[in-house]
């Protein structure tokens, strides 16, 4: 359980980091809470780790002056979880943070790290889809919906670094719901569903597909919650594993969609 040997660089600017990433099989180290276990298991054995933890100015939650937020990619989960501004503007994200791992992991793990790792059962990638986030990198701005290409696979180029997450404002009166089922508090979701309801519904399933997935057929059926919950079951393609069969996960997606939509509708009405 020890990682293979690697070289280590801790650049102090993004330009330096990007230059270092030009090399073959270099890997970015952010908070390390997903990468280091993979290194310890030797599922990955990069020859170079580029630690971006010493680059200043990537750790912030800022008002964008338009009702949204800008979040620096190296902002730690614990900072996101405890931000009053974020709780006021995006209560659904605040609620979902309660399900992200455990205290010691949240103290070190970063929002950008989780998004770039792209675990399909992680909460944050799904929340970015739900909130229609824009992901700013050293090269461009990518819509969250275009960011995930497969399990642990993103649209990022080898030498591209995520720097900022832009959350556009939610329309006033938007209701929300977030429902997760996990075997143990803080574990990865067996499945989770997030929903927002304003003029229209937006629904995202987590842990039930190779990427986080918007359930567009279910969205189109809202306000018929029962029909939406039925449709949700058919939209996902979950895997079987020792924690639950694909059928069981489909069932969960359906039930959690119903619950999330009911909470969201209630919140929108009040």
């Amino acid at each position: 359980m020890k990682p293979a040997a690697f070289e280590y660089l801790a650049p102090v600017s993004l330009a330096e980091a990007v230059a270092a990433l030009g090399r073959d099989d270099a890997k970015i180290l952010a908070g390390g809470q997903s990468l280091v276990p993979m290194l310890n298991f030797r599922l990955r054995a990069p020859s170079l780790l580029v630690d971006i933890g010493r680059i200043p100015g990537l750790d912030y939650i800022e008002d964008d002056r338009a009702g949204g937020l800008r979040i620096g990619a190296m902002t730690r989960h614990h900072t996101v979880e405890t931000s009053d501004l974020l709780r006021q503007r995006f209560p659904v994200l605040h609620a979902a943070m309660q399900y992200v791992a455990h205290l010691a992991i949240r103290n070190k793990g970063t929002i950008g790290g989780s998004l770039c790792h792209g675990d399909p059962a992680a909460e944050l990638p799904g929340l970015m889809l739900l909130l229609d986030a824009r992901l700013k990198t050293t090269q461009r701005t990518i819509a969250a919906e275009d960011f995930y290409e497969g399990a642990l696979d993103t649209a990022l180029a080898e030498d591209e670094i995520l720097t900022e997450i832009l959350l556009p404002p939610l329309p006033a009166g938007t209701g929300w719901g977030f429902e997760e089922f996990a075997r143990r508090s803080g574990d990865f979701a067996l499945t989770a569903v997030g929903a927002t309801v304003g003029e229209e519904a937006r629904i995202v399933a987590i842990g039930a597909h190779e990427t986080p997935l918007r359930l567009r057929a279910a969205e189109a059926l809202f306000p018929d919650i029962e029909a939406a919950a039925e449709a949700a079951r058919e939209e996902v393609s979950p895997n079987d594993d020792l924690h639950g069969s694909a059928d069981y996960r489909r069932h969960l997606v359906s039930v959690l969609t119903r619950h999330a939509l009911m909470s969201a509708r209630e919140g929108a009405a009040s």
């Binding site: 359980m1 933890g53 455990h102 010691a104 992991i105 070190k108």
Partner: protein, 154 residues
Amino acid sequence: MIKLTVNGIVYEREVEPRLSLADFLRHELGLTGTHVGCEQGVCGACTVILNGDSVRSCLCFAVQADGAEIETVEGLGSIDNLSPLQKSFQEHHALQCGFCTPGMLMTGVDLLRKYPLATDEEIREGLSGNLCRCTGYQHVVRAIRAVVEAGNGD
């Protein structure tokens, strides 16, 4: 070469980049109070406090801790002079085999410093990342609860 402070003492060492902070503490500094259980961030036995926050020392490389302030279980108290939380663990039988205890203590210290812990639910949530295979959780919760109520620090 890295330079870091552990329990108030400054250390300088030459380390390989792949050396975890946990192995650095144990093998380089001889501070074997920090236990290594799973080496994948699940069990919490290796929890230490880094710059004021509890972290998994198995998921942090020693090179990342260059310049950091670390607190380990050795910094809490001594056999003859236990810290309030250690004393409470003893009084409430909060350990059986003791393997998970250093991680439970360091997590407990972080919780006691930062949160009001008004309910046992908060303590349980805070401890949810620390596994005890002797199933001694009830007593750990009681030990932390007693320190909250005594109100004289961690």
